[in-house]
């Protein structure tokens, strides 16, 4: 018995596991082929992100690849054997707030970043994949006041990597480069100012030696921007604002809006009352994708400030929009505003998945955008033209998207007025889907979408702008949508424009999704389950009960030992889960920008956590049998 436990950690009982917790030793059930050799070798130059995005053994960026598919070609773990998945090792990040970051893996080293909390806010850790040994950690110089400038918990959505460097964004507005091998600081650049309400929570993306970083602060009237920082020097190469004159939005002669109502000079000024664009939000706090062939990056912008729409008559361009830009210059090629004159805080920063789809008998280069407003958009990614837009959840704020004009058809009976409570607005401010990223399988041709199902009451009120303080002007009270449940994990077919299957969850599904060639999709729930489901049927094949709820991003990769691993950080929080980790009163429904109402029972399911979990199949099935058998 003892011998069979060699390499196994004695935690099984503590963790309520039915299977042993083994270190990465021995041969896998199905070894990876020798051709899967990796580039790491002291003599070779460290790999570039352009190589890693197509390398199944590594997970080099949060979204896996530039197309943002979160699809892995690994299939050692598959629908037939995923039920045997077990913990290989764990690591505590030491900061008990929302864990939204994606674990990256480059050549056998795991890189993770903690939220902006604990003794070392935004601490970065490098761990050896095979052993779980800590190689190094790095703690940026903190500014604790930043914690009070973050609207929705003090999260980080992850790191970026390129050519031997790790890139970190800090909540208090810095971008930092570290030597991936040693953790040595190479440069740091201040990009944002908390006294203007700016923070950074997004995972940077590296394209052509440029680190792309956007700011948060839409609840503080912080003017949105996306900046390109030189990966080698830390110098700011360009910064594209989301509002203001064309010269600052980086709109030039090459720009073409897909619809006439968005066309014209300085629309980022003209579509606002005088000077309001300066405090107009439109922050780029979400995902960035990149099409090397078209040489365009794609990202969405957030809500306009303030939430009280009566403070800002006009379309409020370019808030709640998608930009396509040339990464070399930052110049916009096209932009499409999903939410003209946003009424409800429907940021449109969600991921844009770049795929080629057969539509009306021709293959189109499209971008799929699961909208916060509850509509699944399919856009022509060369022009920004809307091909289709269909509701994927219960929506009563928008009755349809007019494909001729590209504008949403609004339900006018719900339009907020100061002093009048609007009841039962669906979806609520976090939308039918928030930041939590979807995954696309080229095998099933389905999009796996984690999302929420909540409605709200909404009362706007007066608000004045004071730099560095919130600029909202709305009292919000959210609650479960029709049917009483609050979350869903669904598979969506973007060609037939239909939901193929769905799993309802009692709480919002605030974790990201992952799907693999093994036809398994992964996601986590806020009530502490990490689940593997059949990508074709949605049948739950395996689940693991962790220490805290999940709001993170699952990733998968392979080690030099030939084993496939799946990783995610356990630790509830984020906007939806802040109630379980911050001093928020479940009895006062309008707290947490109204999310308290929908999450007031969360503390009865979980408290915060900070545990990186790394899973793999057992190395030896006999060991499993030995351990799993109850004592006779």
């Amino acid at each position: 018995m003892l011998r069979s436990l060699r390499g196994c950690l004695p935690y099984a009982a503590l963790l309520f596991l039915t299977a042993p917790v083994c270190a990465a030793t021995g041969a896998p059930a199905e070894p990876l082929s020798p051709s899967d050799s990796r580039t790491s070798n002291g003599a070779e130059a460290p790999p570039a992100i352009e190589q890693l995005v197509g390398d199944k053994n590594n997970w080099g960026m949060a979204a896996k690849d530039y197309a943002n598919t979160r699809y892995s070609e690994l299939d050692q773990i598959n629908a037939a054997n995923v039920a045997q998945l077990q913990v290989a090792w764990m690591f505590s990040l030491g900061a008990v707030r929302g864990q939204e970051a994606a674990p990256l893996v480059i050549n056998g080293v795991v890189y993770v970043v903690a939220p902006y909390a604990g003794p070392n806010p935004n601490q970065v850790f490098a761990l050896a994949l095979a052993s779980g040994d800590l190689k190094w950690s790095y703690a940026p110089k903190p500014n604790s006041a930043a914690a009070g400038i973050a609207c929705c918990d003090v999260v980080s959505r992850g790191l970026a990597y390129d050519k031997g460097k790790i890139f970190l964004n800090t909540l208090d507005g810095y971008s930092v480069a570290l030597e991936a091998e040693t953790g040595k600081e190479l440069w740091h650049t201040r990009l944002g100012d908390i006294n203007k309400g700016e923070t950074i929570t997004m995972a940077p993306v590296v394209v052509k030696d440029k680190v792309l970083v956007g700011n948060s602060g839409g609840e503080y009237g912080a003017r949105g921007w996306l900046a390109a920082v030189d990966a080698n020097s830390g110098k700011i190469l360009w910064r594209a604002y989301s509002t203001g004159p064309d010269s600052e939005v980086l709109i030039g002669d090459d720009f073409k809006a897909p619809y006439p109502w968005m066309s014209g000079k300085d629309m980022g000024v003209q579509s606002w009352p005088p000077d309001k664009w300066k405090v107009g939000g439109g922050n780029a706090w979400g995902w960035i994708s990149y099409d090397p062939e078209l040489n365009l990056i794609y990202y969405g912008t957030g809500n306009p400030g303030a939430w009280n729409h009566e403070t800002r008559p006009g379309d409020n361009l370019w808030s709640c929009a998608i930009f396509a830009r040339n990464p070399d210059t930052g110049m916009a090629k096209w932009a499409y505003q999903i939410g003209p004159h946003d009424l409800w805080d429907y940021d449109e920063i969600n991921e844009n998945i770049l795929v080629d789809l057969p539509i009306d008998n021709q293959v189109r280069k499209v971008l799929i955008h699961p909208g916060r407003n509850g509509y699944m958009y399919v856009l022509d990614r060369a022009t920004g033209e809307v091909i289709s837009a269909d509701a994927f959840d219960n929506v009563n704020t928008i009755s349809s998207i007019d494909l001729k004009s590209g504008r949403p058809v609004l339900n006018d009976s719900l339009t907020p007025q100061v002093g009048r409570t609007v009841r039962n607005v669906c979806p609520a401010s976090p939308g039918a889907k928030d930041w939590q990223p979807s995954a696309w399988s080229p095998r099933t041709k389905l999009l796996y979408v984690p999302h929420q199902h909540i409605c709200m009451n909404f009362l706007t009120g007066d608000v004045g702008y004071i730099a560095g303080t919130p600029y909202v002007g709305a009292e919000v009270d959210m609650f479960a949508g029709p049917g009483g449940y609050r979350g869903e994990f669904m598979a969506w077919d973007p060609v037939t424009k239909k939901k193929v299957w769905a799993i309802t969850e009692q709480l919002p599904v605030w974790s990201g999704a992952l799907v693999t060639k093994g036809d398994v999709a992964f996601y986590g729930t806020m009530d502490r389950w990490f689940k593997a489901v059949d990508a074709n049927s949605g049948k739950v094949l395996w689940q693991f009960r962790a220490g805290s709820g999940f709001i993170g991003q699952p990733t998968t990769f392979a080690g030099a030992d030939g084993r496939q691993y799946v990783a995610i950080i356990s630790g509830v929080g984020g906007w939806s889960g802040a109630i379980a980790v911050a001093k928020i009163d479940p009895r006062v429904r309008n707290g947490a920008l109204g999310f308290t109402g929908a999450m007031q029972d969360l503390p009865a399911h979980t408290v915060g956590g900070a545990t990186l979990l790394v899973f793999a199949l057992p190395t030896n099935k006999r060991d499993t049998a030995d351990i799993a058998a109850p004592p006779k």
Binding site: E219, V418, P470, E475, D477, F479, V588, M599
Partner: protein, 214 residues
């Protein structure tokens, strides 16, 4: 006394109050801009001004501890004459709580969000009126701005009166039990009682994430 009250850059304050009021096309705020100058005048509506200003001079306030641990177990708390924190003060405090965007962080009825909840105790930096006053005036490390140069003293005391009200939850137990059946009650949410400065006077059955029972 006059000097003390006008120590704050009153023009900035009035500007901010004016912005808040001016943005409203409709709504109850239009009165506050006119009310502003009166509140800054030496003749406030709470009596005994001169005695209070002595008791609350910066020399005394700097002696207010924010912890209840003192070397030698000696009570070092200075005797202060706190202004009248009555219902009128709290009602005005509710207005300033909105005007100065306190509500943006601490949320309607102080339920907590970016800033901690004010709807239950203990307060991190002390729940006595002078502690709350100083937390507003000086700011606190994890994101609370230092408002002392922006909000006049008299208005800060009105906010203190309102914040004191926010934490008056019905007494249930010494600690806090959390379970599928506890807490048992919640406040009637702000969208249905927007103007009350006494939110704990209106409670209903806990809704567990479902729509509130009106």
């Amino acid at each position: 006394m006059v000097a003390l009250i006008f120590r704050a850059p009153i023009r900035l304050t009035l500007l901010l109050l004016g912005i808040a009021a001016g943005l409203a096309t409709v709504g109850p705020l239009s009165g506050s801009a006119q009310e502003g100058p009166a509140l800054g005048s030496p003749k406030g509506d709470s009596g005994g001004d001169s005695a209070q200003s002595d008791a609350l001079s910066p020399d005394r306030l700097i002696d207010v501890p924010i912890v209840n641990l003192t070397p030698g177990a000696v009570d070092v708390r200075p005797k202060l004459a706190i202004p009248n924190l009555d219902a009128d003060a709290a009602q005005r405090g509710l207005q300033y709580f909105t005007n100065f965007n306190c509500v943006g962080c601490h949320m309607p009825n102080g339920g907590g969000g970016m800033g901690p909840a004010l709807s239950f105790r203990p307060f991190i930096y002390g729940d006595r009126p002078e502690n709350i006053y100083l937390s507003i005036h000086q700011g606190r490390p994890n994101g609370m701005p230092a408002w002392g140069t922006v909000i006049p003293e008299k208005l800060i005391w009105d906010i203190v009166a309102y914040v004191k009200n926010l934490s008056q939850a019905p007494a249930q137990e010494w600690g806090t039990t959390t379970s599928k059946t506890s807490p048992a009650i919640e406040q009637v949410p702000k969208e249905f009682k927007p103007s009350t400065a006494q939110p704990w006077n209106y409670t209903q059955k806990f809704s567990s994430g479902q729509a509130p029972n009106p």
